[in-house]
Symmetry: D2
Subunit: 369 residues, 4 copies
């Protein structure tokens, strides 16, 4: 495989460049019989879409998805679902200045070294535009997981630069341009972003993604653990630099008595594990944190070299997100959905007939809810 | 795939339970013609072996590896290399007390829910004993990467609970039982571990793994990025809860001007990226941090339930590592080696004929060395 | 995987239904830097296109392929090449009569049992229209194999019902609508087909596909042998019922002295092996025969059942090929190209550094040429 | 993948050389909870074992299989099942004469060209000894398919050189050393083989393999069709040169009215399709024919070249099967079992919830039984 496919039983194979005629993907392995329309997919695409507020890139792409196959009379057929989004706002001229120079912090130099060519048009294949197809494919997985298994996948911005969301109110998330779950921090974030934009700089962010309603027993042992595949999926998003499950790096200074989640018949007493033990779901919420670096596209000049081997300066004038993390929430949800969907199918392939004497434990003891 | 195989072109398929007759693996995809003996592999196995100091489990296993195939007249043949370690010290009676109860923080409950059975013998397949085969397979990858490409893979314990290694002296690492690179912290770590052992508790740790000498251009775009596959590999290790590449979670509060690694003809001016841009190696050092949780096996009793659905208490009397991170360094090295080896082969499959006008940049500008 | 992807390093993932908006595929793994235009692909598509003579279906589809990604400034970029053909001639009304009945010899009943639905529109996903994308993807592989390795892939109709092509003149193949290599048999085939069409019946055929110029050493041992993967690829074509390599079923009555291809320094003395020994190419021509059944779409009524569980009669009035084998030659070439391309890449991944003292033997001893 | 793994959800990864310390495999993906002992596997291994009659190689290997993992308290655990057979009768000296020469019809030359080395010991990895592990793994699949789905897989020798089995009596097959289902032909076969052995020559054979009891709906569309994967599996057996499904090559001269299997409410009226339509099982018997070439190991000298590039003569003095087809029946059964097992799991992954109004049709109309 050349890296453009994710999944084993529910696979997504993506194609397309930022400034080519279209981007798209083939979703293979969706069980037949699920109701599906373009509107189901568009919902999440619109959440990711650029230009929704002044805090994201002003590049305007309608990002209208079309289903080319795999759906007949409003239902999935079980055959490949091809999705396509035609590129409409391809202002290639924006990129003429960086045509021959390698932007620091971008994939320009590494793609050039790998492929021997420069697709200077907005990053070509390495553009974050590609994540639109992840969101589109993830929407299908989310729908199936929810309708078939009651699994719900949601995310939020847990930190924007120095500003930490301290409250988790699911109702707040969709009411502000940041997917911030803490209403008290929204104004602060807006002010921070406005100052940053003036400065011409960019900033990192942390996204938290949560899946609720999973039964225990999903995931594989050893290598294809649920947490390993989640780490892979999250780290594959543009600009991701770190992934944590549950306690994450905090576990480094935890003692065993603090970290282990004791079990009662009323449920687990806490969720340091982030819902995964031994690579397999415990029935508790899956909790994932992902760190996104500040974009390297900015108006502040930086040192670099060009194709001719000369030291030069580079400024990125194109329309860019000063904080790529702001639009990352739907992408993280999609990636978690893709992994869980794959494991839902893998689970029934191998563990279909498993019966256990002990009923599933409640996710969490009531006093912790 | 049922989760027991890693890799695409250089694959490792592992088998075995903690207390079965043997553990082993098949390494497939090693190019022919490399000199290989059991001693080459034993070296790393011995670094991981339990019972090397009073700070790790006293379970004694010679962990002697045998090559069953794939090597002829001292050289790899290009066919599958089967490795086996016979289990010798299987004190199953140790586990009789936990036979019917689910240890908190372990995979007991999740494996039971997935498979419908309890292999109570030391965790069965979920035992960290399985990681021996990762180290064995990784030793083959390390050897190939070094001899063919000059790539060197090394790791160290960068943090043990509250104690942070502040100096990186490669010569110190193998001189203490912790793989600690800071000579000044070794005594502190010993005292900490002694106190912890008395307390009957356990502690988390952080391991840093570094690969030097990679050419730019290794890795795939979109999903199978080098960093994504490294995250997968590291998170697949028992007890791992977080993975960072380069700056990792620190990037959340970084500005773009801080994070982007500017480029000069003398090399990159820093390495926040951890050697990977757009999922592809830049030629700088690959730097990976992995968080390991404190083991949940401890003498301090904890609440849980048993197979009969009763609330019970559990104490783990077996011989366990109070800090699994201590022995994790060779495992992390092995996992990084497996990922890089796979991408070395993938690179030449697709990018064999690539020529670039610009020579490879030096890894780092000299004043940063 | 859900069956719509072929290949390991050079993969093709296909989508689309006979009467949906479009069919297409993603070709992943093509090395960067190869010149590629739509015209390169169209050439083979036109060879497969229906309606080229009175002997194939009169369904008219321009089958115009569009490249959506993976090519920049006329060269492959190394990223996924998406190909699309919009469906234009979708006379769905033709199929209204078979809407609820299962055509014998078709996939109607088995698809219904697998997916729980009837996409009655021209067979939906099971339509042979899907093979257009194989031809398109195969054209890319053929081009690369020829330009990079000098490997040439060609095919011909070796038998049409009772009529056997007895001469192999490569120059004749493209001069008649059958891809028949024996000029003396073309008239006979035309007469046979005319009679068959009047009768409303259909007929089987045999296609022979040949690859010349392969170096020895391509292919994998044990399962992914070159011949095994060729058998898979050929048998995956609609209507294929048998595959032979070299002597094929004739070897059942051969003695060892007849079958073994003796070796001289001037080359092999014959080619019973069909160019593959132990699953690996010998440097001789790869020779493959594929049997295609007579299509089950015909005007002569047949017994079947319908969705309501009633015994009914079925006539297929749509526009169909009375001999699907006639258009199968470019498809067989494409499938052979896809397999060889994948193994070319696999070969260099694992066997890049192999040196042998003995030079490659000539493909065939001169007196056999 | 380097070719030593078969399957997607039920995978077998094999290792070992003819004259190394052991051969073995890892079977991954077997659902948990199935009773399994070494005796279950040994049964089929003994059917394949050499030295059972004077008509097969006199090499004596007890071929005693040991289960190293994946079975606990007599039941499969759902984790990898490792199987091993230690090599005991390794008369390497037999091979000293062919040490530097390439036996015609063997993999000697192609392996040398691929790997750059000669493992002259009985063919090394290319030896048919490797098929023992296929039989062992296949025995597990056969057991699961039968116990869980009522699917039964059986095979027989349908032709030995010129002698065709004309009657199919399942009770006869295990009563003679040929797996011949026609009691009237056994004496003829014995006489033929005795003459052949005296002559020092070898002969081809045809094996027919049948699976009964499959439900309709197993298999995938497009590439991973059931017939395509069966063709792959069968062609991957040493010495296989052709594969047919149902009518196979006979379909070349069939008309559509002859070939299509008409459908009635009592079942299909014939089975030209061999139980597969559009790549998916119809519920009829799966019928597969495989052609095996005469072995190239024989006492009659042949021309070849050696490592030094000299023309030489070669005689194979080792102990070889004069007709490898004689022992191929259990191997073909195993390969069919592996493919069906994989598709059983794939089917429930994707098609678990499929409901159809029309009940499954009987496999065959009663007057055909």
């Amino acid at each position: 495989m050349s890296g453009n496919t994710i999944g084993n039983l529910f696979t997504v194979t993506s194609f397309g460049e930022s400034h080519g005629p279209a981007i798209g993907c083939i979703v293979d392995g969706c069980p037949p019989g699920m109701a599906l329309t373009e509107a189901d997919i568009q919902l999440d695409l619109d959440r990711r879409k650029p230009g929704q507020s002044r805090h994201t890139t002003q590049r305007r792409e309608p990002d209208e998805v079309q289903i080319l196959s795999g759906v007949f009379e409003g239902k999935t057929t079980g055959t490949p679902i091809a999705l396509i989004i035609h590129n409409t706002d391809q202002r290639s001229k924006d990129y003429s200045e960086i045509l021959d120079r390698f932007r620091p912090g971008h994939a320009d130099y590494t793609y050039y070294k790998k492929y021997g060519l420069r697709d200077y048009r907005g990053g070509g294949r390495s553009s974050a535009r590609e994540t639109a197809m992840r969101v589109a494919a993830g929407a299908i997985a989310k729908k199936y997981l929810f309708e078939r298994y009651g699994v719900q996948i949601r995310g939020y911005l847990s930190q924007l630069g120095p500003i930490i969301a301290e409250q988790l109110d699911w109702a707040v998330i969709e009411t502000n341009p940041f997917f911030c779950p803490d209403a008290d921090k929204v104004a602060e974030m807006e002010a921070y972003m406005d100052a940053l934009r003036k400065e011409g700089n960019s900033i990192g962010a942390k996204i938290t993604t949560v899946a609720t309603g999973l039964p225990p027993g999903w995931g594989e042992p050893i290598f294809d653990r649920l947490d390993a595949e989640i780490a892979y999926a999250m780290m594959s998003i543009n600009a991701a630099k770190g992934v944590e499950i549950g306690a994450g790096f905090a576990c480094v200074t935890q003692k065993g008595t603090e970290h282990r989640d004791e079990i009662t018949l009323q449920g687990f007493l806490q969720n340091q594990a982030g819902g995964i033990l031994g690579g397999i779901s415990s029935g508790q919420d899956i909790v994932v944190h992902t760190a996104f670096k500040p974009t390297s596209s900015m108006r502040i000049p930086g040192r670099t070299v060009n194709l001719q081997g000369e030291a030069v300066e580079v400024i990125t004038k194109g329309r860019h997100d000063p904080c790529v993390g702001i639009r990352a929430t739907p992408i993280c949800e999609a990636m978690l959905a893709l992994v869980l969907m794959d494991h839902a199918l893998r689970h029934r392939a191998q563990n279909l007939d498993v019966k256990t004497a002990l009923p599933d434990l409640p996710a969490q003891a009531p006093d912790l809810a």
